[in-house]
Amino acid sequence: MRGGAVNFWRLSRQLGLLMVVLAMFLAFAATSEPFRDSVNLLDRMRLWTEIGLIAIPMTWIIATGGIDLSVGSLVALSSMVAGVAYSQLRLPFPIALAAGVLAGVAGGAANGVAASVGKVPPLVATLATLAIYRGIAMGLGQGQPISGFPPPFGEWGNLAFVGSGPYAIPQQLLILLAMVLLGEVLLQKSRCGRWTLLLGENEVAARFAGIPVASLRFGLFVMSGLVSGLAAVTYMARSATAHPAANAGLELQAIACVVIGGTRITGGSGSVLGTFLGLLFLACLDFGLEMNGVLQQTQTILVGVLVVVIAVFNEWFARMSERRTPAAPLSSRTEGAG
């Protein structure tokens, strides 16, 4: 038996998603004048920076079989810490921003401690911290947004491009792209990436093989916190405010990107590039439908339906790629420890 079959199915799943995104892109470009305008398109993409950033460590965490629901709250908390540090504590702006990012790291570390030391299931641990971080963010700002950051910051968030003319690319998008590539290369090529995928496949075997499971889990949550802190920075730059109620539900959109991208929610496989394709899919759908005058509510329904359809397809493809295996879980069920 050749192993090529597996690669064929895995590859065709990714390629398939790419084709779907391209086809959708072309269809929208054909039907909508503003969609064809690259300036519009790229400007609109800016709105998806935070989701895209968050979705990178989310891919890793879901690949281990975990989940991080707290990231939306953590982005709010990071931005509020930075805002309070700047506007109330009068710290220099870069230091205030660093404090915000550090708050993200600390929040991620707390999640990591709960999940790895406390052995709380990540779903519950991050559900609790979702509330905790939101509470702190609201309490810090007394529910009020903070603005009045130095003007160059807002300019960077909205007007900084690489290149010029119709293909001037907003700088955050390049940062996102660089992070996506970094996340993908590390996941597929580094030791930690390999450990992550193996941990999600079989935690017991991972422990027996000497993978430092607890440290790995902890580290991934810290990374998730760090990226949340960075996302807070791009969010503040883009919106010129730190808002304690903002970015609620960000985690769900990030999870949707991950699921569309073909990472199994139960762990064991993962692709950051797939997740990025998922992001492009959602962004393209959102903008394209709007430009075609589709009602917001219809869009929302369509997104939900497509997420399920793609998830079912992904699962089917994954099963096809393992079809000729003797189905280890099944045979272990039938043969037991007898």
Binding site: M1, K119, L123, G135, I265, G304
Partner: protein
Amino acid sequence: MHELVTDAARPSAALSPALELRAVSKSFGGVHALRNVDLELQPGSIHALVGENGAGKSTLVNICTGVLQPDQGRLTIEGREGAIPSPSDAARLGIHVVHQEAELFSQLSLAENMLLAEGLERRPGIPWLIDWNATYAKAENVLAGTGAAGRSRSLAGELSIGHRVQASLAAAVSSCPKVLFLDEPTASLTHRETARLLDELVRLRNEGVAIVYVSHRLEEVLAIADVVTILRDGVRVATEPAPGLTQQDLVSRMVGRELQTVDRAPYEGEPETVLRLDRVGSPSGTFRDVSLELRRGEILGLYGLVGAGRTELARAIFGLDPIAGVVELHGKPLSIERPAQAVSAGLAFLPEDRLNESIFPTHSCRSNLTVASLREMGPLGFVSNQREVEATRRTVHGLGVRLGSVEQPISTLSGGNQQKLVFGRWLETEPEVLILDEPTRGVDVAAKAQIHQLVCDLAARGKAILLISSELPEVMAVSDRILVMAEGKVTAEIDPSRSSEDEIVAAALPRSPKRDDGPVPSAHPRLRAILAFRELGIGAALVAIALLMAIARPAEFLSLKNGLDVLTSASIVSVAAIGMTLVIITGGIDISVGRMLGLVGAAAGMAAIAGLHPALCLMLAVAIGLALGSANSLLSTIGRIHPIVVTLAGMSVFQGLMLLLTKGYEVHPLPDGYRTLVDGRILFLPKVLVWSLAVLAGGWVLLQQTILGRRMLAVGDSERASVLIGLKPWRLRLAAFAIMGALIGLASVMWGGYYGKIQGNTGAGFELQAIAAAVVGGCSILGGRGTALGAFLGAVLIALIRNSLVLLKINSYWQDLFVGLLILAAVLVDLWLVRLAASRCEVAP
């Protein structure tokens, strides 16, 4: 393949067989588990089924008991051809089974474990309610005379394995079986328990029951069996009368031929001591006072029966479990707390359960091979594909692994080739000490001989090897010295060249009489008490906060109005939380309930505005909720995707549908008639509270008093065990999701009636409140545990905290912080309680 079929040597062989299989085949994912197997079970005969792991014994038992359906072949039951579509059909036909020790619902009572499939007693007149007194009485009746007598109300997890097996057998016997299957019943029993069990089987045989006895213990097989069928690699090798057979006959047919002698080259270097253990023990007592020295170039065999503490010792040395005492490597004390440290110290551990503990099934052979030595596979924390492929090729050639491509998933290889790759994984770490736990379990004969040769070659190259095995011939053939363990202690050191097998077996037998004669300790003596503490704990937290508030803010807090306010604000969430508890109990989760509430509330509200009778609106809401909940569950089952993905999408769909329905406007004002469904009071109680108390009562009845509820708990507790007794997990999950949907429908009417309107964002974040209340109420996110009362109290506790913060004039913006801390505290307390229960776990004898 030659077949040695002879008539069962029984005088009563003229009777038609109780159960007969003809040419039965079964395969899983293209791999044959059974091929053309015939089996004939005569009444009044004990038919032993022997074979190595993976030979197909359990598959055969599962086909006979309705758990699996054969791909091909015929079943004849008492002379009539037929099928056994499910375990409950098997039971109806008089076919019963005593499963291995692990197949149980640890969080249900012993009586339920015995009777859940068919036999729970129902109340006269109300057949959907369980009559607990009659059920326990029935169970006690069955248990009379066994070691578990009087324990029918204990949680199964509290009982020793011996008692569980006895109870299971007693339950099977009580239903007057015609055919009785026993799957490795004595694997974890003491000698005396085993003897008692075998006596009972002989008695049953004499009463005319056809008994199938699956066991690895060949001495038992030869002692009680009338006929023996030997399976190898899914094929029947022979069926012969047991008298006249010897263990050697059985072994040679199970493995296909006599074990070959291995080529043992001597180790030429200095035989210095590498690993030394000095009186080490485990805190839980699974092994005690073990001392050993392992030298370079030596193979030290570690023989013993299952449960002797060998695997536990190996795990502890490798840092998987705690160990007390002195462990030295090259004379230096070694303190290993994690396997990663053991690996870098030069230890390697090949675990016994390859499927669950060694391999990453869907990952490539390459990444399965290199997992323990990734540090060597590239610079700067990166993994070089080329080095990995080189390493894999090296192993493939060096160990003779047969594979098509290094990229193929390891699960596509045969067991022997998988095991060689796992060997290769550890050789790549260049270990000094290899601990091999049952290295040839479940591999074919040729691979077995190759692995034995490999072990000897490694020793010759100066590795120190600790070989754990339950196969005496293997230990005898390969080891330089043999340590025998029994009941956690080393009982003998034996030189295999000078000793007989009998000496070794004698040393391995448990001998301490107190274990057999004294009261057998229960596994988790206080499990039930500790878990019951869960609800008491929430109650105590409620009382404590209330007391504090009564002292801090007596005037505002201690009023009936405030008390009712707290309960009222908890009401709507508690209804959803009880539904969510059902879903989580069965192992699911639903994050779409918030948007579902908005959608259903809008639909019902618009119907009310359009003039539909309020009661019909309520029914409409419940029906829509039920349909949406069922849709979530069915989509997850049919599409084979996790409920969290389905309901993530559901969130979006429901929100869109709601906005489409309402065109973005508020549903307002809701007619008074509709609002009075929930607004206002009955006596002095707010109607919303009455509704939620009614749901609480319903939820309590469902989970505590109905068969459906108990089965939902069973599925979440152990899906595997529930399939074996014939439950359909997908149906029970569907029921849980449907009931939850109906409750969301009710909650949406409560919301509309209480607040007077439904807005576009109604229900946003509500799912988190429902999950939080369920979790605070002690519902385990892993399934199998949770109560309606807990969910209700969880919702009340959250509402009380919010109320207290308001009265204490703590800024409402901080509220979420306290709610989050409460969730975290509740889960940590819960984990602590479970660990407390586990730490009291007595050692299985």
